[in-house]
Symmetry: C2
Subunit: 165 residues, 2 copies
């Protein structure tokens, strides 16, 4: 497998927990949309482009992925059940190995906490200790090696949205 | 002790290793100064301000600290031997406890690799595995708790200079 640049992007600010009968349908707030657009525009100005954006199926994540698409950060968004809350890193790694187009080497995942920071810690340190702070619309950048990804990836970026204005 | 925001900043691009009889005196190159100034200006625009900048005594670090000072990121620079290559985290933590003015709660350290990323990993995970990529003129942001800093700090920022343009 080729080495991969992986960007983990947390969904933007959404409506309050409990304000929707089905939590999966909570949308981004107006503020959440606006701040996520700022982040997307900054990522574009930094010349980031993704071969593929994978998103959690939940509304607040899909809306975030759509904003990244509108900002021309990628031409392709795919919904992935692995990125729903509680999704397992091992299963996503199987997709990476067997389900991904080999040409897709710069990937963005749009999802939820604590999943994203837990996945990042596991890829980098082999275990998760809750030591990374990933804000809503924040970004983590990981360099994945060609093999033995868990515990051998490198963290090269972690930023809250306030530093992406 | 109060909680502390700690920014670890690696010195900018310096002359080639071996090009100076005394490695401690290698200065920043013209490119190193220019890129470090860009980083400093961006940090200023992000409204970062430091109560104190501590710098390694080596020329390339002191020049980097001076550029941060010129960009109005702080009013005070102190040279600290703990930040020289090979400096021990334990000894710096003693200074933090006993030698620091209690008012100084937002600190920047200017120093060298692998020291800075090793200190960051140790504060965050309790041990270092070389999993953080800190480029020259890159920045790490850590939130230190009030006590038991080692293994209990939080990483909230890690950025290469190319994302601080």
């Amino acid at each position: 497998m080729s080495s991969i640049d992986l960007y983990l992007i947390r969904h933007g600010i959404a409506g309050e927990h409990g304000s929707y009968a089905n939590d999966d349908e909570r949308p981004l707030t107006a503020e959440g949309k606006q701040k996520t657009r700022q982040v997307a525009q900054r990522l574009h100005a930094l010349t980031l482009r993704f071969d593929l954006i994978l998103t959690s199926p939940l509304v607040r994540a899909r809306q975030t992925a759509d904003i990244l698409l509108e900002a021309m950060l990628s031409q392709t968004v795919q919904v992935s059940s692995h990125l729903a809350p509680g999704g397992k890193l091992e299963e996503w790694l199987e997709w990476l190995q067997d389900g991904r187009s080999p040409d897709a080497t710069t990937l963005a995942l749009v999802g939820h906490e604590p999943n994203l920071s837990t996945w990042a810690e596991t890829l980098v340190w082999g275990e998760a200790r809750g030591a990374l702070s990933l804000k809503k619309a924040g970004v983590i950048g990981l360099a994945l090696p060609e093999q033995s990804l868990v515990g051998n990836s490198t963290l090269f970026w972690l930023t809250p949205p306030r530093f992406l204005r």
